[in-house]
């Protein structure tokens, strides 16, 4: 797994993708921080985090699109799948590499709290809650992107598909609210990524929420492994 992680991580910085992603994170979060917090003279950073939720929904797929699609296209999957390494380790190594790059972009969010703290008393529970929520949702986006990427040879298709999946995940609660059957809408509300996310942003650290997000990540990683395995049998 170490080998995969190291290669994938360094690949991000051999191409512009890693730099571009981190730059986008810094640019948008900085702009939102100025727009929603500094320019109105407030101390609330929730809007900054919410803005980044949507930014990551679209830009994490840029990070994950080549993870498996490029291997499929360049036939380098033949090297990985014939090497003495388990598929779970292979998939997890790739996930971790992309997730670390994501966190390199995400971590800057904490600095806004520090900046505010120099002038006013900040509610750290709120900031850390938001930060945890964004870090967890980032994991979901990365694992979903990895899964979609494993289905195709085209990076473009992987990116567009992943954005679609991310939007669908974020919209589950909207769908839930329009479905008249209570039974179904209750289930949808329970698996609504956005509702779980909102819970954290109010400063409540919910263990159930953490387990929920980690489970979603695990499911995406698991189905990715199944996709790779299935290809052998096709």
């Amino acid at each position: 797994m170490g080998a995969i992680l190291k290669r994938e991580f360094s690949a991000y910085f051999r191409s512009p993708i890693g730099y571009v992603f981190i730059a986008i994170s810094f640019l948008f979060s900085g702009a939102f921080f100025w727009l929603f917090t500094l320019s109105v003279g407030g101390t609330d950073v929730s809007m900054v985090f919410l803005g980044m939720f949507y930014v990551y929904m679209v830009f994490v797929p840029v990070l994950t699109m080549r993870l498996m699609a490029d291997e499929n296209k360049m036939r380098t999957d033949q090297l990985l799948l014939t090497a003495p390494i388990g598929l779970m380790k292979l998939v997890f190594g790739k996930f971790l590499a992309a997730y670390i790059v994501f966190m390199l972009g995400d971590i800057v969010m904490l600095s806004y709290g520090v900046v505010l703290g120099c002038f006013v008393t900040v509610n750290w529970a709120l900031i850390l809650g938001n930060f945890t929520a964004l870090a967890l949702i980032g994991g979901v986006f990365v694992s979903a992107g990895l899964f979609i990427s494993s289905l195709t040879e085209s990076q473009m298709v992987a990116a567009v598909g992943s954005i679609g999946v991310n939007v669908a995940l974020a919209l589950i609660n909207v769908v839930a609210s329009v479905i008249p059957v209570k039974f179904i809408s209750d289930i949808l509300k329970d698996i609504s990524v956005f509702d779980r996310y909102s819970e954290f942003t109010t400063g409540i650290f919910s263990l159930g929420g953490v387990v929920f997000f980690l489970s979603v990540i695990a499911v995406f990683l698991f189905v990715t492994v199944r996709v790779l395995e299935r290809r052998r049998w096709a």
Binding site: A3, R7, R14, M74, I85, R232
Partner: protein, 331 residues
């Protein structure tokens, strides 16, 4: 050592590989010969665990590739048809990656140095793979297969895209490696397999049509009884003369090369070697021989011969033969 038993791979109703069995012993180079689409790559992909078989078993050093894939894969070095290279890495970075991917335990620096020396990569180790020529890319692919000094080497058309000098180098290398490894290589070039392999498995349309050691197969496939010659002299007289050589069955006068030079196609009884007799006969009449060569069998002729020739006869072969001829006739 590799044992393959009753391997079948179906894609829907089409059988890419149909019930093939063979064994490659330690210290043996086994050649997999067949035209494009015969099922060579499919078989190799099954052996290396990249795809699974529909039926049958593949044992690598006694380990079933489906039952304990990680252990079986650790015995194998694989060079696929298209070398699996990361174009954004340098040769050094790439080999480092493969080294840790295969969880290799050998001393890293000296091991990688040795491999680069063997495949002659020393000069390009710091260059990006994307900028290398096709021949060098192929060598990097080869180097990758050698990392970890695996007991079994599986090479899918290892000489494709190389220039003649490199081909000879790679062939010599494979022969050398064959002494203490089990090597399986595929090719669609008959002389190449003959030059390198101890044992030859000929495969066509997913089925094995011959499985024999290289010498006896070569003997059966040799075509010394069919000659192409260029002889200086009047064509009528020479063709009469050639026809009078014992065992000669047919003589065709081919194209005219020069004012007094014609090309001749000579067929003699199968299994005879008429070259010496012809030389003596022509020499006695003072006709200079400008060229004489055996009419080499094309791969198609090889298959025809293997599937219709009596030396491979017997009931099962006959059944196969009819099947093949039927399929061939569809075209």
């Amino acid at each position: 050592m590799i044992e393959v038993r009753g391997l079948t791979k179906s894609y829907g109703s089409k059988k890419a590989v149909d019930n093939i069995s063979f064994t490659a012993e330690d210290g043996q180079v086994l050649g997999f010969l067949g035209p494009n689409g015969a099922g060579k790559s499919t078989t190799m992909n099954i052996l290396t665990g990249y795809i699974s078989s529909t039926e049958g078993q593949a044992l690598i050093n006694g380990v079933d590739i489906l039952e304990d894939p990680i252990k079986a894969k650790s015995f194998i070095g694989y060079l696929p048809e298209m070398p699996p290279l990361y174009f954004d890495m340098t040769v050094n970075e790439y080999l480092d990656f493969v080294y840790s991917l295969k969880k290799c335990k050998l001393p890293k620096k000296s091991h990688l140095n040795e491999i680069c020396e063997i495949v002659k990569l020393e000069d390009v180790r710091k260059r990006l793979i994307k900028n290398l020529s096709k021949g060098y890319k192929q060598r990097v692919g080869f180097a990758q297969a050698l990392v970890g000094n695996p007991k079994v080497l599986i090479l899918d058309e290892p000489t494709v895209g190389l220039d003649p000098k490199q081909i000879i180098e790679i062939r010599t290398l494979i022969k050398r490696l064959g002494r203490n490894h089990t090597v399986i290589l595929s090719s669609h070039i008959l002389p190449e397999v003959q030059a390198v392999c101890d044992r030859i498995v000929v495969i066509n349309k997913g089925r094995i049509v011959a499985n024999d050691n290289a010498d006896s197969l070569a003997r059966n496939l040799s075509a010394d009884h069919k000659l192409v010659m260029q002889i200086d002299g009047a064509s009528e007289e020479i063709s009469k003369l050639l026809s009078s050589v014992p065992d000669v069955e047919r003589v065709f006068v081919g194209r005219q090369i020069d004012e007094k030079v014609w090309e001749y196609h000579i067929e003699a009884k199968e299994g005879t070697d008429i070259r010496r007799d012809i030389f003596r006969k022509l020499a006695s009449r003072n006709y200079p021989i400008l060229m004489m060569k055996s009419n080499e069998l094309s791969l198609e002729e090889v298959f025809l011969k293997l599937t219709t020739g009596d030396e491979y006869g017997g009931a099962e072969k006959t059944a196969e033969r009819f099947d093949l001829l039927e399929k061939g006739g569809d075209k």
